[in-house]
Amino acid sequence: MDNTNQPPKNDLIDLASIRARLSKEQGKVYWQSLEAISGNPQFEELAKQEFPDNTEVWIDPFSRRKFMKIMAASLAFAGAAACNLPTERLIPNEKIIPYVKPPEEIVYGKPLFFATVIPFAGSATGVLVESHMGRPTKIEGNPDHPASLGASDVLGQASILNLYDPDRAQTCSYLREGKSWGAFVGALSEALEARRQKGGEGLRILTRATSSPTLASQMKSILAAFPKAKWHQYEPAISDSTRAGAQLAYGEPVNTIYNLAKANVVVSIGSDFLAQGPAALRYAREFGQRRRSSAEKVLRMYTVESTPTNTGSSSDHRLPLKPSEVAGFAQALASALGVAGVSNSGADNAAYKNWVSALTKELQENKGTSLVVAGSGQPAIVHALAHAMNQTLGNVGNTVSYTDSPEYHPDGFTGYTDSLKELVKDMEAGAVDMLVIVSGNPVYDAPVDLNFAQAMSKVALRIHYSSYYEETSELCHWHVPESHYLESWSDARTFDGTASIVQPLIAPLYPTKSIHEFFAAFTDQKDRTSYEIVRSYWQTQFANDFENVWRKSLHDGVIAGTAYASKTVSLKADAFASASLPKSTGVEIVFAPDPTVYDGRFSNNGWLQELPKPLTKITWDNAVIMGPAMAQRLGVTRTYGNSGGEHGRSYVDMVEIKYQGRTLKAATWILPGHPSDCVTLHLGYGRKKAGRVGNGTGFNAYSLRTSGEPWSGGEVQVVKVNETFEIACPQGQEVLHGREHDILRSSTYEAYKSGKSEEGKESKGHHEEKKEAEESVEHLSMYPEDEHKYPGYAWGMSIDVGNCIGCNACVMACQSENNIPVIGKDQVLRGRHMHWLRIDRYYTDNGHDEPLDNPEAYFQPVPCMQCENAPCEVVCPVNATNHSAEGLNDMVYNRCVGTRYCSNNCPYKVRRFNFLQYADFTTGSLKLLNNPDVTVRSRGVMEKCTYCVQRINYARVEAEKENRSVKDGEILTACQSVCPTEAIVFGNINDKESKVSKLKAEQRNYSMVEDLNTKPRTTYLAALRNPNPELNKKG
């Protein structure tokens, strides 16, 4: 009954023997998990059964008996409905409710797209939002917006779920009692009037980072009315050191913009710039363009980092170092490059000595076309060193430019942590009697040493404005619900200063207020709508021709000509005079924003919780991430569930972390490529008041994080405790059955362009042998020859494994587009995850390092392969999966009876089964979220990727109506359209001129598990890397 009792006693991962095994491997071996590469027969036994038939119990609320009872009723109903009966008599009458007066532009049944931006963490990303009859359903990137260029990221894709989240705060409340907005405004006015005489003394406003010009002007007028009031800002996941680093190097907090299009060599010092930060999508797009086999000069990328990230894993060379060593590396490199005033102490550190010399040479050969990027989690000195290196290398003006910061800050702002510290100090001193917290959650995410909650309790009147009733709201008197960005008018600047209008797609679902309306209540124009406020601000900016500018800006999603001009800056002579590097002190800890739930503000988002994290692939929790060497030393291990088929249940050891006098007990996760003597803990978990989805997931990193060392620190004690924890990790439990050599293919640009085999020398023999074997059995196919002909379109997809940075945007886009349900941790533990598109992460030997400590990583997205010889089709007893005339493996949900034969016969494991009623048919607000063009599947139905057949049909119908064929690039699948690196290309392979045909004609084109002769329509382009031969030597 209970699975949590005792973890099974199977010693699946014996790290020492895995090391020995890997060192013996000939050629490149690709592996997904430590268990899979262990060669342990026990693991293969566990992996055998795909479906958890022999798990003892059904989901908790449904005991088996109760389930059968429910089923009996359903069966009776199904018996009647199954014979294709028209359901007129069986379902209640539907109504058609037309408009009274139809709104402009709406054509019944056709979606409209509106441009807006997602304001996020002091920046903004442009999006186009799909609206079905006034109901936003899907977010796409805006090609005209400089931070999007048509791509979109995980958080942007998932943000639409927050709009419809039934757990959102829906009404104002005073001490948890529901109140009206009017009542709040009354109480607020009274409180403000009482303070007006004293110039607002004791009034403090705490906001998040903002780049909204309108908000900045509102704050200005509020502070003018209350001159003694103060505005504070706090962001838990934005590093102050970026700002401090620029201040240190240039004497002013300039904003740095990179241009990868012009760079030949990029060195990332702890930066995940391809996946994190306001311009990540743009950088990833530029990176992708410079990494194609057709690129004139291929960009080479080095990453020095602690926690493995998307950027590091996509680099040609990656060096795992502890945080203190990363800083040392930066100093050594700067000194070797001849940056003035930098000491060369520590340059002979064996950990990075050869890197410094190789990089110095390469960077000096690429003056003006190289780029050094410092990570936001690095200390200010590293940022300053990166600035200085770029100056020395002549990169400024070429690959690096500087502008003013797009963010707005209070006067005298020096950093988010400082600003919060000042507030806490004043609260403790009793100088604050009214605190207004705006869309932050400091009780949860403030540094632990500040004791924010305790200090706040001294404030007489506390007001919290946020979208959820969360930890901070609990301790405040008033709570005012915040409107979602899709419900409100606002504005925001993006990374280069370009401003955009945030326009709503839907009227607020609940009586919530936008941030501008909330602050309007502080002024004498209390009832102004956010539309009036935002519009009147921009009226002052564009006095001439305002109406045209406004309309065009709304249409385009950007206000033309608002980007900041680049600034000329000069390096301070004494920049490094007083600089000191962090010292290496024992085991170190890294704090980083989580790749899915960020700083915790997305904790209640089920899509993000269930999204496997890019490298660890775990869902629903965070964990203390450590490298194999450290795990070996601590004796930390993990094991799998003991009943077959539970491909998602990992029992991991727990540890206790002691750091600066505080302790946290948390689960562990062993991650290859993580440096030794260092652990990583992601922010955003361990919340108590996130909502029904986010409560109680993971471990609270904020309970260890201090204001002094918010990103990394030393002197950490990690002790294994005698407890285990269940982690839901839906990947790595499958056996490759001898395909470890060619499940994925990779090579180097050099080898590829010189015409050598696509996988490098070592594995060539292996492949040739295989190819010969394949040729001899080619005509032995069991499928009838030429059963299917494709006279019209033949849809196909090409995925460039080399360009995939594993950012997960495609997975999220697929979930949003195709109404894929969230199933919860319990079901993921049972191996029942529903993602139609998964990203398989593979490791392999990089040729010179110990493969467990620093492997090469690759990402291989796996949607349905749409096989021409589809194994799924022939085994379906009810013809529910069929071959279409265009080569798709159609899945007919209404015909499926749930035998699961198709999935058992699918070699790619891309079919997903609704074991229970996962789709939510009852929650009203979630119904609005569904894409009306895709069936919402119910229990007992198999589902899978269809190449977004709804988009194919739409485009085909539109083309047919115009009597033309579908143009190349007219159909973008959901995954393709969001991909920042353009790694996914979809199109008609019958058209030899189409982009996808040309990619498939490249020599590096391969299909997965080719030997099964399934003839998949989805094929891959072998990953090409551009390593520096000097660093590729062993030893």
Binding site: Y99, V100, G109, K961
Partner: protein, 234 residues
């Protein structure tokens, strides 16, 4: 209970048989008969009942909140279908007219008719009319009006003589076999573009050749594609 004596048991053994020999045949016949009976019932159910208008509601006039007559508006006044069903050429959904469309005329004529009171109320209060759905396709079938209209399938091919319907009814069953009838053989119903909205169009005698010509002219997709599952289901 006591064990029976040997004599008792002998008596049972020699007792006259309850069932006569002929019952063997009866039993056999009844087994076969039951199967036959079930098959007949099933067959009748399959062939007649599930296609009956009782279950499909085909040809059954639906009462509406307003007694709107297509017969009067289309047959009598000669309004074009597209005057009200505006998106039929562009979109999946043909469109149900907003109250304002009714008021275009009915703010001028029949302005006091009690029958039109709900229309006037709707327009005055902004509360929409609520029509009962007549053609209710299953949610897993994705039908697109515009492609049919643009490819030579006329309104009356599916909706029947709407101009003769005082109250709207569903002319056809909307069952999958009915859809497939045309998807397997579209030539039988294709008509020239100018006749699409003609209610009284009837297939000419040489429809077979005309249809083939039209299919070529309209570039009708292959039957394989028209009968591919994902053409309608996704």
């Amino acid at each position: 209970m006591q064990a029976k004596s040997r004599a008792d048991r002998n008596e049972i053994a020699t007792m006259a048989q309850i069932f006569h020999r002929s019952f063997n045949s009866i039993a056999k016949i009844s087994i076969v008969g039951t199967v036959l009976l079930l098959a007949t019932v099933g067959g009748v159910f399959n062939l007649i009942v599930i296609r009956s208008s009782y279950l499909t509601q085909a040809q059954v006039a639906i009462e509406q909140p307003i007694q709107f007559s297509h017969k009067h508006h289309v047959g009598g006044l000669g309004l074009d279908c597209r005057y009200c069903h505006t998106s039929v050429e562009d979109s999946t959904f043909a469109g149900i007219p907003p109250t304002r469309t009714c008021m275009n005329c009915h703010s001028q004529i029949w302005v006091t008719s009690p029958m039109l009171e709900p229309v006037r109320t709707s327009f005055a209060t902004g509360k929409p009319l609520q029509w009962k759905r007549v053609h209710n396709l299953a949610d897993f079938a994705y039908f697109n009006h515009s492609i049919h209209i643009n490819k030579g399938v006329g309104c009356s091919s599916c909706h029947g003589r709407v101009d003769q319907m005082p109250l709207m009814w569903k002319e056809n069953t909307l069952q999958m076999e009915w859809c497939l009838k045309c998807h397997r053989n579209p030539e039988a119903v294709l008509r020239p573009k100018e006749d699409i909205f003609k209610m009284d169009w009837e297939a000419p005698e040489d429809q077979e050749t005309k249809g083939r010509e039209l299919a070529k002219q309209y570039n009708i997709q292959s039957k394989e594609l028209l009968t591919s599952c994902s053409t309608c289901h996704r």
